[in-house]
Amino acid sequence: MKPIISYEECMRDSPKFRDALEENHANLDDLEIKLEKVLKNCNLTIDAGKTYLGFQNNLVQSMLQVSMHFKGDPAVSQALNKVANSLQETIKYHSILIDQTSRSVSRSLNNFLKKDLKQVKDSRQHFDKISADLDTALARHAQAPKNSNKNQVDETSNVLIATRSCFRYTALDHLYTISLVQSKKRHEILDPLLSYMHAQSTFFHQGSDLFQDTDPFLKNIGSEVTQLREETNALERELGNRHSVVTSKDLVPMLKSETLNGTRMEGYLFKRTTSPFKTWNRRWFAICSSQLIYRKRTGDREGTIMEQDLKLCSVRPLVDIDRRNCFEVISPTKSHVLQADSEEMFQVWIQAIQDEIGAAMQLMLSSRSSSGQSLASNESPRSNAKDSQNSSHSTTDILAVAGNDRCCDCSAENPEWASINLGITLCIACSGIHRSLGVHVSKVRSLTWDKWDGEVAQVMVSLGNAIVNSIYESKVDTASDLCKPQPDSTQQVRDAWIQAKYVKKLFVDHRWAGDENLLQEAVIIPESGQVDPNWLLSKGAETGQIVWIARALALYADRNTTSGNTQERAPVHLAVLNGSVTLLQYLLLNGAKINTRDAAGKTALLLATELGLPAQVGLLLKNRADQKIADNDGNTPLDVAVKTANADIVSFLRISRLTDEMRETEFGEAGDDTFQEMVRDFLR
């Protein structure tokens, strides 16, 4: 590469020099325009690339969302995740490429344009100016008249010499600048383009490597897609003859002896509402794990348990009704009228329910002989009958009490029975003997089958086998021929023991084993030197010590004793004053007279009313306390409740009275329910 023209031509400022300049100027202008175009397009490419990457990123994100949709389908979700990850990698490569484009091409070219070409322009401007100056100087010099004085001539010629000298320097500089740029442009343009190409090359290489890696996986997906498509085709073929299943008949399910997931039978039935209007609703019923459950067609995921335990139910056809194919499911407390769609369905449903009842009974019997774990497994959907759910809850609580995991009398495991007045749990064999003692000694209930009121369960929870045996077996005479039964003991052994323990109370230690301090204030029986059980009973009721009451009862205390208080208050009065529902319930279960009057003629009910204790009032009414008994001033509980404006108690008393009056009429049963439900709501 040479300078664009020889120095000589430059020094002479020849037309050739000027032509060369002209030509180079035009050449560089052209380059500038073209490079600017390149730069502009390059910047547009970068911007478009960034936009593209943004969208590409969004695309990947949305694909990841789709993969979330296939959460339960690992085949599809994993493939989608991998595809998205690969795409994310390519996005990364792409963004590197764009970055390099912007750095190498855009910035270098910009540099060349803004610095080098600008320099040429500046230099050209300067050269033009100096050239004009020289022309002026030349003209002046030439214009100097012949006869002018020497000084004048000298001056112009000096100016000319200086200007020419300046011009020559400038022209040479300009020549230098142009020549350099002309030379420089060749690599300054190629270089950025080369690095751009390098960047492109890297980009494609990285992509190629990536896809080489994912190739097996992509092939895998390919074959999977084929397989999935075949599956769809197969499904389509299978569904092709769907219409062949359409029949005009009812779909009558076959009854299976084996139940599937515990569901024996399900389908639609009409259910007569229990409201007075007796409307019929169509519901989806299922017989499942000894329960009868129904739900609405839509919007009712949980369903409602119609009967918690079919063991306790029976089913019978209903002829005495205006609709066809009706049957009735009867439980101890309720009756449900259901209607099947056809005669066949009607038969199948009755059969299914009977089968389930049979199976449930069978299950219960076999589980009892093995290990009997039917109790704690009642964690199922919300129950229609609130109390039955409560009962499963409270029986679990009862079994959790110390000692209650084994029969109180023979220590057999998993007792399923209870004596509610004694507060103990029993095995079936011992419960049979307890029953034979009479309800004045032991009131037996089933932990599984019976409905448990919260207050009664609370009594059970407050006592338990450990506490009760610490009283009733506090003085076991090992020398005696009576010995505590074992789980496998005979009926005779159990019978003898239970009689001795609860009726004769042979093993109760009469000596006071409790708090010594209490002996200070206790009433002592002179003959024996022991604490008076009547005093203990009153004290227990007064201070809320249920264990003292249990002990006093074991020592033959008078349940209605008025010992130790001037107002002649019986334990029921004292329990009301104490405010404990459990205590009151315990006394009532153990035969305390509910209508006893104190010195002022007040019954426990009247006292509870005066004190404004609706829970106690509810409990007493539930246990059939007589609300007509007035005190010595002639006030009945209702009078007192109205006077004290206690709305809850007024309502209890009035509804209870209504219930009593209606009891013998047809309305009685519903009235009873209303009252029971109200008290239950309140005691809860």
Partner: protein, 215 residues
């Protein structure tokens, strides 16, 4: 309330609801005892009274429940509505707020009462003409929109009290008695062993024991 001795064909439970002071208790006492007490105090808890009327030769016994309007007793809300087949939703024509609260009482009915309960909107105290703040037409339109029956009463001067109870009991009777008759139009000699089916607000005994057959 001697309910044991008297005979009736149907027993309907009807509840009185509405804001405090609209005159529910006086409507009840006017209908059942023909009494009115201008000085009556707020009701405490629940009260009920019964009266029997004749419809189509049948004796209908109404058991009417009344409670204080101002408070919701937690223990009795569900007991109050349980088994109710009719509701008189009472407001005071001279107190606009008691009319505005009718919507709230309708919601309470929806939440607690049977879905088929027959509801009658009752504008009480129609004797207070000069103090009226709820126009009859407006209340009637409201009742129509919500498919309620509508009547204006005055427990004080007896206007329409009898009619109100009579109408709602008749309406309930029509609904309850018609249902079982679709299949056996001839009520007096039905086929088979069933007499006219006794409908009472009780549930489980969907039985056929009827008083007219006992006699």
């Amino acid at each position: 309330m001697g309910t044991r001795d008297d005979e009736y064909d149907y027993l309907f439970k009807v509840v009185l609801i509405g804001d405090s002071g609209v005159g529910k208790s006086n409507l009840l006492s006017r209908f059942t005892r023909n009494e009115f007490n201008l000085e009556s105090k707020s009701t405490i808890g629940v009260e009920f009274a019964t009266r029997s009327i004749q419809v189509d030769g049948k004796t209908i016994k109404a058991q009417i429940w009344d409670t204080a309007g101002q408070e919701r007793y937690r223990a009795i809300t569900s007991a109050y509505y349980r088994g109710a087949v009719g509701a008189l939703l009472v407001y005071d024509i001279a107190k606009h707020l008691t009319y505005e609260n009718v919507e709230r009482w309708l919601k309470e009915l929806r939440d607690h009462a049977d879905q088929n309960i027959v509801i009658m909107l009752v504008g009480n105290k129609s004797d207070l003409r000069h103090l009226r703040s709820v126009p009859t037409d407006e209340a009637r339109a409201f009742a129509e929109r919500h498919s309620l029956s509508f009547i204006e009463t005055s427990a004080l001067d007896c206007t329409n009290v009898e009619t109100a109870f009579h109408n709602i009991l008749t309406e309930i009777y029509r609904i309850v008695s018609q249902r079982p008759m679709h299949d056996s139009p001839d009520e007096d000699s039905p086929p088979g062993n069933s007499g006219p089916i006794q409908i009472s607000p009780t549930e489980p005994n969907a039985g056929s024991k009827s008083n007219c057959c006992k006699a």
